[in-house]
Structures are given as structure tokens and as C-alpha cells.
């Protein structure tokens, strides 16, 4: 999946989107931009899976606790989807909704990070004399 195809597709789709936006159908323009985002992500999925598998192996060798890697992956996933949604809403001109989505994503990431925070604090307290 080389970069040329991705950039070519993105350019063509944005040209089509601009054209549709002028000929009184901005809704379809937005739908096309959403679609391009989806197609590019799915086409790059194999590489993401490969990187994550490599990370998994490294964590396994280093005996890192599975919880930490899993939480990090979840946080990355939430961040990606929230960014995707917020950007689409912002493109459609609804920046208020976009900031709501980002706010919710921050809270969810915080909720996921709490157990790790607690674990770190406990180890620190145990180190103190």
C-alpha cells in the first residue's frame, strides 16, 4: 500500500468534494471526505496490526504486565476514533460538537489511565522507608 495511491485517492476525493460542495450538495461532499478517511485507514490496517504484533512480542519478552500494553492500545484506539469523529464534525462546521467529542474522549482516556496511576503510586509508597 504505497503512499502514491493514498495521496492520489485523497486528491481526487477532495476535488470531487469541492465540486459537490459548489453544486449545492455539501452533504455528499462531507460523506465523501468521511469515506476517504475510512478507506485510507482500512488500507493501512495491515501495517498497524504488524507494528502492534511486534510491540506485543517485545512486551512479552520483557515480561511487561499485559495490563499496561492493553491499556495503551485502548487509549490509542479511543484517541484515534475520537480524533476521526471530531475532525469530521469540525469539517462539517460543527466545532461545538467536535469539542464535546474530544471532551468525552479525554474523560474515557482518564478512566483507563487510573489503574496504572494507582499501581505507580503504590510502588512509590512501598519504596519509601
Amino acid at each position: 500500500m504505497n503512499i502514491m495511491q493514498i495521496v492520489g485517492l485523497a486528491l481526487i476525493a477532495s476535488i470531487i468534494a469541492i465540486f459537490l460542495r459548489q453544486t449545492n450538495s455539501p452533504v455528499n461532499a462531507m460523506l465523501i471526505s468521511v469515506l476517504v478517511g475510512i478507506i485510507i485507514f482500512i488500507s493501512i490496517l495491515k501495517d498497524i496490526a504488524y507494528v502492534l504484533a511486534a510491540l506485543d512480542q517485545l512486551a512479552h519478552k520483557a515480561q511487561v504486565n499485559q495490563l499496561y500494553l492493553g491499556t495503551i492500545l485502548k487509549i490509542i484506539g479511543i484517541a484515534y476514533v475520537a480524533e476521526f469523529g471530531a475532525q469530521v464534525c469540525r469539517d462539517a462546521g460543527e466545532s461545538a460538537i467536535a469539542s464535546r467529542v474530544e471532551f468525552a474522549a479525554k474523560i474515557m482516556v482518564l478512566v483507563l489511565a487510573i489503574p496504572i496511576l494507582v499501581a505507580v503510586l503504590e510502588t512509590i509508597i512501598r519504596l519509601l522507608p
Binding site: 453544486t23 460523506l31 465523501i32 468521511v34 482500512i42
Partner: protein, 69 residues
């Protein structure tokens, strides 16, 4: 799966949208404003039925990769 074959869906939606806007302006000139508005709605419905499965597929892919279940 090699998903750039899905790029065809973009051009399908583009063609639908162009046809609809042509019909829209044509019907508007012919003075049939309500039909023009109806064809916009019909076009939107068709395009949405094509886009929503793709969005669902994206969310499922993200769930699978980042184990977000």
C-alpha cells in the same frame, strides 16, 4: 484485505451526487420545487445507505486492532 478496491465507492457516490444536483437544478427551473426537494432527500438516503456500512466497518476494524471491546 486490499481495500483500495473500495475506492470505487467514492466515485459511485460522486456520480449519484452529480446526477442528483443536475436533476435538482433541472426541476427547480421547471418550477417543480417540491419534487426537486424530494429528489435531494432520495439521493441523500441512497448515499447514506452506502456510507453507513463503511463507517460500521471502520469502527469494527478499530475495535479489532486496538482490542477496544
Amino acid at each position: 484485505m486490499f481495500s483500495l478496491a473500495e475506492a470505487g465507492i467514492i466515485f459511485r457516490i460522486a456520480s449519484i451526487a452529480i446526477i442528483i444536483s443536475v436533476f435538482y437544478t433541472f426541476l427547480k427551473q421547471a418550477g417543480r420545487d417540491e419534487y426537486a426537494y424530494m429528489i435531494l432527500l432520495a439521493g441523500l438516503a441512497v448515499v447514506l445507505t452506502m456510507v453507513i456500512p463503511q463507517i460500521m466497518e471502520l469502527f469494527q476494524a478499530v475495535e479489532r486492532v486496538f482490542s477496544l471491546y
